[in-house]
Amino acid sequence: MTNETPAASSYKSPHWDIFCVVVDNYGDIGVTWRLAKQLAAEYQIEINLWVDDLNSFSHILPELDKTLSQQQFFGVNIFKWNKPLDIPYRPGSVLIEAFACELPSQVLSTIDELHQESKTNFEQSINTASKPPVWLNLEYLSAEDWVDGCHGLPSMQASGINKHFYFPGFTSKSGGLICESDLFNQRDKWQSSPSNKLALFKKLGLIGIEANDIVISVFSYETLALTALCNYWANIEVQNNSEQTAIHALIPLGKSLASIESLISTPLNKIKAGQQFTVGNLTIHILPMTAQTQFDRLLWSCDFNIVRGEDSFLRAQWAAKPFIWHIYPQEDDYHLVKLQAFVNIYCLNLEDDAANAWSKTNFAFNQQESNVVEHWQQLICAQSALQQHAKHWPIDAKKDADLASRLVEFVKTS
């Protein structure tokens, strides 16, 4: 392989390039991988996905060979993005930098070259097909008001080439939300038969879950609120002195586990996927990492999901089940502003008691408050309204267009 890039325009093809830097294990790659798959499958676009960390990627795509620099899955070309880039960049019709990642210098110089070429040809009235790709910065999802005002705006670079900021969001003026066209049908079909969830739990090696047990998936960052909730779930039977439905918490290896180390009395480095620990009424199952399709089914199968970041946050909404969102912590508690913005839109059509309990539980969880338990108890009282709302929410949130379709339209008009 060489990093020499011959005359840019001679390589121009209609494919799209998506560049992704893995920062937080599964979030960035989770979003870009879903988008790449959807664009390839539903819009027949040739996608080149450049990823700098195949090891993290392999957790959500187990078939991936971490040693290969190029491979293809689900019609998506996956390239290992080494720094400096050692696979020649061939400009396509669209160039996406995911989450404002810094593009390789070879890519930047190639599109600058194309831009200058196209400008010169325009000035000299020469007809040419050479023009730089539509350049987009795919941003983070937020429910804040400012998103609508920033979505789609150009960002003029020093050379004069425009990059556009593409903001996912919950309104018709935003870039929309990633959602595959058949996802809701698949989910409904899955949830229509209780045997599906039990079969999945069995397949994942989760032993002892009965059809009527309460199953909660936990994919959060570290928080004392999780410690408090697990303690509460473990002691429910003792507190109530009556027969109680068993609770199962499904937790993958990683950050969530650190919050409950004291509860399971086992050092974190000794814990392996497939193990389970019973503490009073609570059984903690250590989940293996799963591919995205399986993760979706897991969310569909649980009674409640605790999710984090962006990708699992959105998938929990599509699961039509109640959830807690553990948002990525930011400086000056700015994440709470983002949480409040989402709470505001999520609770708009939710009855007051349920909205109040759901909002307080989410804030307590994110602020590591032990009184999360009191709010959780309120939440359980409002379970029926919350469950109904969780079923309607995906339809309201997706509205008439998902992110991929809005993105394709945006590119057409750019």
Binding site: V23, D24, F99, A100, N137, E139, Y140, L141, S142, E144, W146, G149, C150, L153, P154, S155, M156, Q157, A158, S159, G160, F165, E310, Y328, Q330, E331, Y334
Partner: protein, 186 residues
């Protein structure tokens, strides 16, 4: 070079071979603490404006044009008139003031920096901090003194600033003109 985050109304930057005056900046936070700066820019050569977005750490070439320290003198529709130490007067179009316009009030004593391009005053840069009186704001609802609960307030000149809930009508407040953020009560 300045980062997009450091730019403020009145600065002039070079993009694609043209000078652009920064008329308005609005900083927000995206994921993982990353700043997003939305700007209104005016092309000095073409007299056209555009709205644009930058990453906070994007670097821009800010160009140093001729500048003069001036104070605001009076408004002669549609021009704001500024005066230098030698009593020379310079007209600045209201449109070219951008966000700074909200802080221009009769009798203001703060020294501003007027920027010229080919002899024409094209923008006005305010001091980084400026003190203005609150002319209207709702009373504090819950007596919050932490400064974390915020509310809108109208200041002298008619502009609006988001202030801490404890701020009252008549209070003088310090504002960061780069971000239009309330800093403290003075």
């Amino acid at each position: 070079m300045k980062t997009a985050h450091e730019l403020r109304p009145g600065n002039v930057i070079m993009l694609d071979g043209s000078p652009w005056v920064v008329q308005k900046t609005e900083t927000t936070r995206s994921g993982r603490n990353a700043a997003i700066v939305k700007m209104k820019l005016k092309n000095v050569l073409q007299d056209s404006t555009t709205e644009t977005t930058f990453k906070g750490e994007d670097k821009m070439e800010d160009i140093i044009l001729e500048r003069l320290a001036c104070t605001y003198s009076y408004y002669a529709d549609p021009m704001y008139v500024f005066m230098d130490a030698e009593y020379n007067q310079y007209d600045v179009e209201a449109d070219n003031l951008g966000d700074a316009g909200a802080y221009i009030v009769d009798g203001m004593e703060e020294e501003c920096s007027v920027t010229f391009y080919e002899g024409k005053a094209i923008s006005v840069e305010l001091p980084v901090t400026i003190v203005r009186e609150v002319t209207y704001t709702e009373p504090a609802a819950r007596g919050d003194t932490s400064g974390k609960v915020m509310k809108p307030a109208t200041i002298t000149g008619g502009g609006t600033v988001t202030v801490a809930e404890f701020v009252k009508i008549g209070d003088k407040i310090e504002i960061d003109t780069r971000t239009n953020e309330f800093k403290k009560r003075v």
